[in-house]
Structures are given as structure tokens and as C-alpha cells.
Homo-oligomer: 160 residues x 4
């Protein structure tokens, strides 16, 4: 079964809630999901997964310090995350408050590792941006994103 890590940093709990909902939706797609605070992720552990989803609050237009720490440390795995599937999610104060650039800061790091990402023709093209605390009404979009990530992992996994 394909394995995915959903890891996040959260101070207020908003990004944690989003991570939990996203992890749950991935499980419903039949993936083996590990949900873990980013401070608890051991760098070598990243090698085990077929896909990695990283969540951060939107702080000054890019991923939070705690998230960047794992990213910077991942230089130890240079070349070894090549070909894994990546996904980014964030919670932001609002519209135009840096959510898109935060997602891109995560996606750019993933690309620099040689990871594979996919956008979405429906809204929230670059990944999940949720305003404040995710609620029931966000479930549909979270589910759609999880399905898309799962489908991509399965397509790649079946053959690699």
C-alpha cells in the first residue's frame, strides 16, 4: 500500500486541524497515512514515504521557521527524495495575505528535491489554503485535494 506522511507545524491549532482532516481524507482513499508534528519527524524517515504533504501557517509569505528547519535539514537526503509526490497546505489570515506564496515556498523546496507536484484546475490551484480554522464546509475541497494526491501516488506507484 502506498505510504504518505502528512506533517505540519501549528501554533493556534488551525493548521493541525487541517492536517488531521487531510490525513483522514487520504486514509479514505486507501493510503497508509502517518500524521506527525513536524518537530517529531526524523529526517531519514522521509525516505519511507511515497508522498509527503507539508502544512504550515502563512507567516510573512512563506513557510514557518519550524517547517523550514526540516526542509533545510533535508539536504542530508540530497537526491533521495527524487520522484516522490509532494503536496502543500496552509492556513492563512485571509485572502491575499500570503497564502499562495507560502504554498509556493513549500512547492519550490519540493521541486528542488526533484519531487513531483500536481496542480488543480478547480480552485485553490497550488494546494490547500484555508482561512482560519477549517470547518465542515471545507471538507469537500480537502477531500478533492486528498483524492488528487492519492490518485497521483497510485498512478506512479503501480509502475515504479
Amino acid at each position: 500500500m502506498a505510504k504518505v506522511l502528512v506533517t505540519f507545524y501549528s501554533r493556534t491549532g488551525n493548521t493541525k486541524t487541517l492536517a488531521e482532516m487531510f490525513a483522514e481524507a487520504l486514509k479514505e482513499e486507501g493510503l497508509e497515512v502517518t500524521l506527525k508534528e513536524i518537530e517529531k519527524v526524523k529526517i531519514e524517515e522521509l525516505l519511507e514515504y511515497d508522498g509527503i504533504a507539508i502544512g504550515s501557517p502563512t507567516y510573512y509569505g512563506s513557510m514557518a521557521t519550524e517547517v523550514k528547519r526540516l526542509v533545510d535539514e533535508s539536504i542530508k537526503l540530497f537526491g533521495q527524495l527524487d520522484g516522490k509526490v509532494g503536496f502543500a497546505f496552509t492556513t492563512a489570515g485571509g485572502h491575499g495575505s500570503g497564502g499562495e506564496t507560502t504554498l509556493l515556498s513549500i512547492l519550490e523546496a519540493m521541486l528542488i528535491h526533484g519531487m513531483i507536484i500536481q496542480g488543480d484546475p478547480s480552485d485553490l490551484h497550488y494546494g490547500l489554503i484555508i482561512k482560519g480554522k477549517p470547518t465542515e464546509r471545507d471538507k469537500e475541497v480537502i477531500k478533492r485535494k486528498a483524492k488528487r494526491m492519492a490518485d497521483l501516488i497510485k498512478r506512479l506507484k503501480s509502475k515504479s
Copy 2:
């Protein structure tokens, strides 16, 4: 008196409405404002202004073709827009639909001309992003952005 160009491309009329509201708000700040569809701007005309505000709908995460055409043509003015004040505005389908990256595509072009830009600690940090057609409830944020652009132009103008 400081002179500003507000130029825009609009197909549905949403960005046009935003441009009109922004131009009006700049006038209230005491600036001499020229409001013009981007197809009607003559490239040399850009030299006359102390500030240039460019508006585009959000199309695939960056400025619309019609806007890029003026930007590409502005190579003729290489080095001559250096030190002018820039501002970007867009209308987008929604949250996370590429509005931030559209603003940045315009701001990056302005930086490449040596132009001066300022963010905003309140929301919509990179410039104006309005969902769909601007309405009365958007007036306050448009007014604040216009005041910030006008203040920067005046600060720079008084001495240059």
C-alpha cells in the same frame, strides 16, 4: 502636482471597475490621475508619470497577455522608469486562484525596471486582489491602498 497612470486590461469589466475606483481614490489624495485602457497607452507616455498602477485580471497565475504586451514593449524605455513608484491590482475568481502570483508577476516586472514598490502590513499585502466585481464594501481597502501609493509618491517627489 504628482502624476499617476492607472492602466488596466479588462474583458468582463471587473478590472475596469476596480481601476476606476482606484483612480478616483488617487484623485481624492490630490494626485493628477490618467486612467487608460492598456491598449491605448503609448509606451513613451510612461515617462511622464511619477507612479504607474497596473491592473489585470488573474489569468493562469500571471498578468493577462494584453498587459504583458505593454510590459514587453517597455524594453524601449530601458533604465528610464528607474525610481518611479509602482502598484499592482487584480480581480480574481476567488481565494487561492492565482491572485497573489498575478500581482507578483506585475511587481517583478516593475522591479526589473528599477521601480519602487511598497507592501502593506494590513491585508492584501502585495496589492489589491478583489474577488469578482468590486463593490461598495471594497471601497475602504481601495482607498487605503490609494492613500499609501499617493503618500509614497509625495514623499519621493518632494525631494527628487
Copy 3:
């Protein structure tokens, strides 16, 4: 056999040369490659390919007008490019002159279509950036990029 479109805009011929070298390298990977100036691409034609590589000179930090025109027109294919593989290449004046943001402007458009992109842990992480006219010494990196794009298309194709 997997089919790829390599399309480009070029005024000085630099991006054209790069497109030709990239197309040639893709053929060596066993793909069926169509090489075409972007002005000659019919929008519906995009549906035929498993992968699309788009090249543009670096003009003011984002894709050239002629490239953006095709991108904007591709709204007609809303949702239909979902799952295709994308790749971006550019020729730039030099280091730090907007090559990265130009690639990202293309990649962001691809993500907004739901396309799949992969980075590279070796240099030129986001895609190909060549300074001026590509030469023999650029062949190795072009070959590596072509192989990576071809491998991804084959992995996805084998199963989809």
C-alpha cells in the same frame, strides 16, 4: 508511444535553438516529439499530447506575450489538460535576471491546468535556464532534463 509537444517563442533565435536541442534529446528518449513555434499551435492540439514543454525568453521576469497568449487562450480547454506532464525552459540575459521567475510563471500556469511537474535535485531545479545561445557545453544538462521529463511521462503513461 508517448507524445510530447515542444513549443516556444523566440525572437533572437536563442530559445529556438534551445527548443530544438530539447526536442532532439526527447526523441533520443524514444518519445514522439512535435516541435512548433507557439504562434502555430492550435489550442485543441494540446489535447493530443502526454507532455507539453513550453519555452520563452526571459522578458521582465515572466513568459513573453506570445507565450502568454496561448496560455490565456487555453482557458477553452479548462480541465482537459489535467494530469498531463509539463516542463518549462527559458533563455535569459544572465544570472539573476528573471530566469527563475519566468520558469515559475509557466509552471504556475501548468499547475492551474492541473498538470504534473517535477523538479530536479541537480542544478537548474525548476527547469532549463540557459544564458544566451545554447552551446555544446549545455547539451549534457539539456539531455538530463529531457530524460527526466521522458521518464515521468513513461511512468504515468504505462498505467493511465
Copy 4:
């Protein structure tokens, strides 16, 4: 006299050398310059300066963890850095290796604080990107960037 902070994170010493050269060039422009490792900057201290230049190595396409820590902590100064001049510099492994996106990650944070930034029509439009250790041959571009930052601060300072 206008005051500027040049702060940086450096592990290999490359960014430190660049920071020293940039600070020296700012002094030659008549500014009062404080040069300080980013770990030693007290957040309230940022209020004292008219301009802030931030340097980071290029790590995975955005500012290093140690730099992001100061940026995230600066939320304490919400609204109080509004109108200060910002500048970004980085040292990168090479061409297309994330230098531009690293500069933009810093500039975006500055914009979110309401800071003022200026590009450059000559090369290295978004700020300084130096490949590896800066050398004598980089002095000219460093000097030009310092002069531009100093000129902007003086223009704004004279009147504010």
C-alpha cells in the same frame, strides 16, 4: 545620518563575506551601518533603522531557517516597520539554483511589513545573488546595489 542594519546568516562564510562587502559599500555612501549576525539581532532593534538589508544563503529556494526565525518573530513589530527600506542578498550554488526565489521570499516578507523595495534595471534585478564566495570582481555590482539602497533611503529620509 540615515541608519541601516545589514544582517545575515552564514554557515560557510560566503554570505558573511557578502554582508561585509555590502556593509562597507553602504558606509562609503555615508550611511551609519550596523553589521550583525541574524542570531544576535534583538527584534525591537529593527525599529531603529531606516533601512534593513537581509542576507541568506540559498537553501531550498527560500531564506534559511535562521533568517525566517527573525522574520517570524518580527510579528511583534506588526505595523511598525511600515515605510522602511528593504534589500535582500543571497549566495547560491549557481545559476538557476533558487537564488531568485530566495530573494523573493525575503522581499515578500518585507512587503508584508509595508516596507519599500526597489529593483534595478541592470542585472540582478531583485537583489544581490552571488555564486559562492564573493570576490573582487563582485565589488562593482555590490557597490552599485549599495548606492541604490543608500540613495533611496536618503530620498525618503530627507522628508519623512
